[in-house]
């Protein structure tokens, strides 16, 4: 198989297991994003693919070749680091071309390839500068150039945009996306920014404490999180969670928290089986809808962000966030009616957090 395959990969540092039994297939041309909180093992996984960290157990294939015992430069990969890791004393040109030189490529050819890559990344005018004379965004571009020029089968990115400011990050994100579309090469990309994950990925892998929580399309990860961890990690503001039971009053389905009944609309039929069972309801802010017929909620705080407005509500003994347009005025302390979009909600097992149903 082309692409990358991890088979039963395990990793331990000094006897402490940090990654257990990872199985993952990355198809050729995929843009795979590894998402997860700090310390969950994203970098470790990436380093193992790159060959920078030996695996403790299991095997890694790249383009159908078992590379588990190979050196990084033999694996047909390239890597971009959060700290850029440019060679500070070399010019941009040398930074990009050094790997080729080491591989014994003749000079004119190196020159040509460096120029092509520079053209592509629009850094031709910077080629003779030192990294210290570049801005953060430019440095990141050079780092990408250094990876690009190797024309590897797989690109590995470790939080490449974290050191950039918000505006630049958004721009670079779009550039990366375009680059992927043009090159069609496999990319494994680490981030803990879920906007990046959602917009860039063709496949998202959510990690927590060294194990894979969900590996799916961005849409599914957002819409159909496999468990409560994924649901809470993906999405900002975070999903609202309340504990309670599903109840039915004629046609109307409620979620009873014990302190009030949240009305749910458009609930799928499968929910009937779950009535009466204690569980956790998850509802994203944009799926709370204002409706005078709904349960009465007290406005705690309204945060206008420009295009939207996030409203903190005290409802049914819980605190929840709803999203609304920027126009509507919310007065702190006033009351408003709320219903929940049952067609978009998620229900989780109270015990193990597994998803029971997605609306």
């Amino acid at each position: 198989m082309n692409g990358v395959e991890l088979r039963n990969v395990t990793k331990a540092y000094a006897g402490i297991t940090v990654m257990e039994n990872i199985n993952l297939e990355i198809a050729d041309g995929d843009f795979l994003v590894l998402l997860g909180p700090s310390g969950c093992g994203k970098s470790t996984l990436l380093n193992m693919i790159a060959g920078l960290e030996p695996v403790t157990g299991g095997a890694i294939d790249i383009n159908g070749r078992d590379v588990t015992a190979l050196e990084p430069d033999e694996r047909d990969i390239a890597m971009v680091f959060q700290s850029y890791a440019l060679y500070p004393t070399m010019s941009v040109r040398k930074n990009i071309g050094f790997g080729l030189k080491m591989a014994g490529m003749p000079k004119p050819e190196i020159e040509e390839r460096v120029n092509e890559v520079a053209e592509l990344l629009q850094i031709t005018p910077l080629l003779d500068r030192k990294p210290s004379q570049l801005s953060g965004g430019q440095q990141q571009r050079v780092a990408i150039g250094r990876a690009l020029v190797r024309e590897p089968a797989v690109f590995l990115f470790d939080e490449p945009l974290s050191n950039l400011d918000a505006k630049l990050r958004a721009d670079m994100r779009i550039e990366l996306k375009r680059l992927h579309e043009r090159l069609g090469r496999t990319i494994v990309y680490v981030t803990h920014d879920q906007i990046e994950a959602m917009t860039l990925a063709t496949k998202v892998v959510v990690l927590d404490r060294g194990s894979i929580q969900q590996a799916d399309t961005p849409e599914n990860v957002y819409r159909r999180p496999a468990n409560r961890f994924v649901a809470s990690f993906v999405g900002a503001p975070t999903m609202n969670f309340v504990d309670g039971t599903l109840a039915r009053d004629g046609d109307q389905v409620f979620f009873d928290t014990g302190n009030g009944k949240l009305p749910l609309v458009d609930v799928p039929a499968e929910a009937n089986d779950l009535v009466g069972r204690p569980m956790t309801l998850g509802a994203r802010p944009e799926h709370l809808m204002f409706d005078d017929a709904g349960i009465s909620a007290r406005v705690v705080l309204a945060e206008p962000t420009g295009p939207d407005q996030y409203v903190r509500l005290a409802v049914a003994g819980a605190e929840m966030t709803a999203r609304s347009g920027p126009e509507q005025a919310f007065k702190s302390g006033s009351d408003i009616g709320v219903v929940i979009d049952g067609a978009r909600m998620s229900l989780f097992d109270v015990e193990n957090g597994k998803a029971l149903l997605h609306g």
Partner: protein, 316 residues
């Protein structure tokens, strides 16, 4: 929210702790100036004052004791006509080059070896730094033994059967200056190793990862990437070691006594010998002044470097 605010949310009425009365207060900058007074006094009086004094004395025919009868630049004429002085200056260049170069090369090499992630790193590190605890006198005494052709290494190797073995530099006028470098490097290589090791440890580990992905052989990474990044460390080592070279006195006395003849003499010893033993204070002072001028010529690039670097950046 109706939650009652705890006390801390009310500003205390009693604000005297954070607000002093408006009158002019003692400024910390003034304290900073005051704190510099001792060091500044030492610098002006002891460093520069004494340099000037040395210069003044070099213009006199003082012998055992300072006398202020000026004879113009006669001492310099005598100094420059003195073959021993020129040998010493030439030796300074040779020794400086070999000693500093050796410390840098071997220190860096050892640091790299240790940095390759060896077990028992602490043991090697400590072993390499042990000679540092010895004085130059002790160093000289030990090496005088080891290098003595009749007692030391040469004899020992010959006793093992290699009768043709020769290691008699310490008694050869054309080689004895190299023995100073050997003993000096032995003593100081640990400090250099520690400095370099610390520098290597400060390198972003991602640089290593990047170079592995690029498939760069380890030696080339050190040569082309790491070494240029360690410029400040090299500079620190250079400064520390050149201070030692300029002051080299004890080691010469203990190791070769400047000999054979005066073939391994160094300016510091020349100066001290003339001031303290020869009762040629004026001549010694002239030598000292020339030596100090050499010092200033050597370290002024460093001074310039310091000033420039800090004007450029704005700290952290």
């Amino acid at each position: 929210m109706a939650e009652p605010a705890p006390d801390v949310l009310q500003r205390s009425e009693d604000r005297k702790f954070t607000l002093k009365s408006g009158k002019k207060r003692w400024r910390p900058q003034w304290s900073a100036g005051m704190a510099l007074i001792p060091a500044m006094t030492i610098t002006i009086v002891c460093f520069y004052g004494f340099i000037i004094w040395t210069f003044v004395i070099s213009l006199t025919r003082s012998r055992l004791l300072p006398v202020y009868k000026f004879t113009g630049f006669e001492q310099y004429v005598r100094l420059f006509a003195n073959e021993r002085w020129w040998t010493a200056m030439q030796n300074l260049a040779i020794h400086g080059f070999l000693f500093i170069g050796g410390c840098v090369v071997f220190g860096y090499f050892l640091a790299i070896l240790i940095d390759r992630g060896v077990k028992a790193e602490g043991m090697f590190r400590t072993l390499f730094m042990l000679p540092l605890s010895m004085s130059f006198i002790v160093t000289g005494v030990i090496w005088q033994w080891v290098m003595n052709p009749g007692l030391g290494l040469q004899e020992a190797v010959r006793a093992l059967g290699w009768t043709g073995f020769e290691f008699n530099w310490i008694v050869r006028p054309d080689r004895s200056i190299y023995t100073l470098a050997i003993a000096g490097i032995w003593q100081q290589v640990g400090l250099c190793m520690a400095l370099f090791l610390a520098g290597l440890r400060n390198i972003d580990p991602n640089i290593w990862k990047a170079s592995r992905v690029d498939g760069i052989p380890v030696w080339r990474v050190y040569l082309h990437i790491i070494t240029p990044m360690m410029r400040t460390v090299f500079f620190t080592v250079f400064i520390l070691m050149s201070a030692i070279v300029m002051k080299a006195f004890d080691l010469v006395v203990a190791l070769t006594g400047g000999g054979p003849g005066f073939s391994s003499d160094l300016p510091a010893r020349f100066v001290v010998d003339h001031i303290l033993n020869r009762q040629e204070l004026g001549l010694g002072a002239a030598g000292a002044f020339v030596l100090l001028c050499t010092v200033i010529a050597v370290i002024s690039p460093y001074i310039y470097f310091e000033l420039k670097k800090e004007r450029g950046g704005r700290g952290h």
